[in-house]
């Protein structure tokens, strides 16, 4: 029996070791590098808090990138969560053809990032792209999308709103976990659809929604890299310069690994602040709700 327990621990080992090698050590290394100057060619030299000072003093793109990333999260996350919720509610029940509809909704999520970026680059093409041509056919003159500083960021939000398969699936599962009896009781009491949602579905889905929102905040900050890298390179005039792309350029194109690490640390702090805020707000809102 002792032997058995020991073997079990061995079976957990690859996962824990992988975690240490691929996540814990890199995290520590990043934290240390944030306080050094390092171009990988010569050994890192200690630089204290000077990276933070230099970034504050010289890097005029960083505030822009932070603001863009924040704006992106604020726009994309609510839209994505609401979209996933609406679709999950709409396609919840088993009916003829529902599998096909669900697959159609899930499909954009399956598409590899690079291909997805290229596809939307074509869709957003201001003159020959299908989106503006369809708009023109119904009498609307479409904007320049990715070439227009006002529309570039919303355009990337728009394309991200189509990739909500993960949230959709999780919320479907959440809906299926709600016992049918609850609704049956409500039906007897003559509850309306809205009341059912308000007093049964929503409260029971809440933990799922909180978890999803937290995860989505994280995902959407990260997922701006590939579209920005492939589609715009941060243009027009930094309108789509997000933190991950800025860090990539600083680190891998300008060989400033030290200040790249500093930005990474800043990004993690920023994301943590958002996560905690979201968590506190959603949680507080639940407690308040408990009284009505």
């Amino acid at each position: 029996m002792l032997n058995y327990r020991r073997t079990l621990r061995w079976m957990l080992l690859p996962y824990l070791m992988g975690t240490v090698i691929l996540i814990v050590i890199p995290a520590i290394v990043t934290l240390i590098l944030a306080f050094t100057q390092y171009d990988l060619l010569s050994p890192p030299s200690w630089y204290g808090f000077n990276n933070f000072r230099d970034l504050a003093q010289f890097d005029d793109i960083l505030p822009r990138a932070m603001l863009n990333s924040l704006l992106f999260v604020l726009l994309a996350v609510p839209l994505r969560i609401l979209g996933a919720l609406a679709l999950a509610l709409f396609l919840e029940h088993r009916r003829r053809g529902v599998g096909l509809y669900r697959t159609a909704v899930y499909l954009p999520t399956l598409i590899p990032d690079v291909a997805y970026a290229l596809i939307w680059l074509w869709v957003f093409n201001p003159i020959y792209g299908p989106l503006n041509q369809v708009l023109e056919a119904i009498g609307i003159e479409g904007p320049g999308w990715l070439t227009d500083a006002r529309f570039a960021l919303p355009a990337i939000v728009l394309m991200s709103v189509f990739q909500i398969g993960e949230g959709f699936v999780v919320l479907l599962a959440g809906l299926h976990n709600i016992p049918r009896d609850y609704y049956d009781v409500a039906a007897v009491d003559g509850g309306t659809g809205w009341q059912k949602f308000r007093y049964i579905t929503f409260p029971l889905l809440r933990p799922w929604l909180i978890l999803l929102t937290l995860r989505d905040v994280l995902l959407t900050t990260q997922n701006t890299f590939t579209p920005a890298y492939i589609m715009t390179g941060g243009d027009p005039y930094y309108a789509t310069m997000f933190l991950p792309l800025h860090i990539y350029k600083e680190t891998f194109e300008d060989f400033r690994y030290g200040s790249g690490a500093t930005m990474t640390v800043l990004m993690i702090c920023g994301v943590s602040v958002i996560l905690i805020t979201v968590f506190v707000v959603l949680k507080g809102w639940r407690n308040q709700n408990a009284y009505d």
Binding site: L40, L41, N125, P126, I127, T147, D148, F252, E253
Partner: protein, 395 residues
């Protein structure tokens, strides 16, 4: 390791094949990265991982960042010892920018410069005469205006008179022609001087107005819908600004006839150097074998192979004057314009942070080119935003 389009790649494949048949003991593997920014990231990462390619083709605007870090082997001594090639065989204009702190670091394969590629069929159709060798800025603008056409009358331009990448290397020759200067010195400058002279601002304004006022160049939307080079190749742009490197790709054009013309002239003669050089990392083992390749690539035999593909304006005087480059049976017919401009060529500053500076300058220039703020404001922003990269603070 090289960069460039597929048609350019073929030229280097031919070079490698010829080299291997002459030196059967040395194997060469060609690595091809299409984009410049990836290329730079790649070289940096390779150095960092201690596994650089043995030979790298690097543009003169980009080698200083590596030279300053001491990771490139100076090749001057190798050249002095070479029985195959001598310093005097090269155009001095090609070698000059590759001297870093007095040492020749890399051996340039070419000395190209900016010229005007033009579509003869579009000129004929519009009844516009071909550019001559001493046309002026005004002639240039007028030609572009007459060639810019809206064929179906829907208010959208269908054929543009001119296409160009919007970047500081494209602007530079016009700036110099007008008597402006980009920086205070050629090597390790300490100040951006674009905003310090009216000549510079005037040239900047003229360049920007090609789009904002005259509309002979595609605007931001049209450019992103289809870039100017692709428009030129598809016969919907009459003139396109590029260096020699476009030639291998343009030779595949069958739908129309084209040629090259020199840049129009401003107050004084000037052109912008485009040169790429073979560089050797200092950390590799078999330096002699690597030198053998670089030497071969820059020997008359090697340069002839690449020149025949159309890719280069050879940096060896003898090859540049030979039919390998001036072949009357191959386009462009007017290849001599690349040689005529050589005495007037100037180069962009050589400094370790130039790539970052150029990136910012280009970003500001594009903002101006597509949105039309006052030239003085653009130049001020350029100076202000690049301050940190001159006499760089330790980062």
């Amino acid at each position: 390791m090289i960069f460039g389009d597929p048609a350019e790649r073929a030229a280097y494949e031919a070079l490698v094949t010829a080299f291997e048949s002459e030196h059967p003991t040395i194997q060469v593997q060609l690595i091809h990265i299409p984009s410049q920014s990836d290329y730079r990231a790649r070289i940096g990462a390779d150095f960092a991982a201690n596994t650089p390619s043995d030979v790298m083709l690097i543009n003169y605007r980009r080698y200083a960042q590596f030279a300053a870090r001491g990771v490139l082997e100076p090749l001057g001594d190798y050249l002095d010892r070479s029985p195959l090639i001598q310093t005097e065989d090269f155009y001095p204009e090609a070698l000059e920018p590759f001297y870093w702190e007095g040492k020749l670091i890399c051996i340039p394969q070419n000395l190209s410069s900016l010229v005007v590629y033009y579509n003869k069929n579009l000129f004929d159709a519009a009844g516009v005469s071909y550019p001559n060798n001493d046309w002026t800025w005004d002639d240039f603008l007028e030609t572009a205006q007459r060639l810019t056409q809206d064929l179906d009358g829907d208010g959208n331009t269908d054929i543009y008179g001119l296409g160009t990448e919007v970047s500081i290397v494209r602007l530079a020759p016009f700036l110099w022609q007008n008597g402006g200067e980009l920086t205070n010195t050629d090597f390790n400058p300490t100040v951006l001087t674009l905003d310090r002279s009216n000549e510079g601002l005037e040239a900047l304004q003229w360049f920007i107005q090609l789009q904002t006022v005259h509309g002979v160049v595609p605007n931001a939307e049209a450019e992103s819908a289809e870039d100017s080079e692709s428009r030129f190749m598809n016969g919907r742009t009459a003139m396109y600004l590029n260096s020699r490197r476009g030639v291998p790709t343009y030779r595949e054009i069958t739908a129309f006839d084209w040629d090259v013309a020199p840049l129009p002239q401003g107050k004084q003669r000037a052109g912008v150097l485009h040169a790429d050089a073979y560089c050797m990392p200092s950390m590799i083992d078999d330096k002699e074998a690597v030198w053998t390749f670089i030497e071969y690539a820059n020997s008359p035999a090697g340069q002839t192979i690449v020149a025949q593909s159309g890719r280069t304006v050879p940096s060896l005087r003898a090859v540049a004057e030979s039919p390998a480059f001036l072949d009357p049976n191959k386009k462009p017919l007017n290849s001599r314009v690349f040689l005529d401009v050589i005495p007037d060529l100037k180069f962009l500053p050589i400094m370790s942070t130039w790539v970052e500076i150029e990136e910012i300058l280009t970003e500001e220039l594009q903002l101006g080119f597509y949105n039309d703020p006052a030239p003085h404001d653009i130049a001020l922003m350029m100076s202000f935003r690049t301050l940190e990269y001159f006499d760089p603070p330790q980062r």
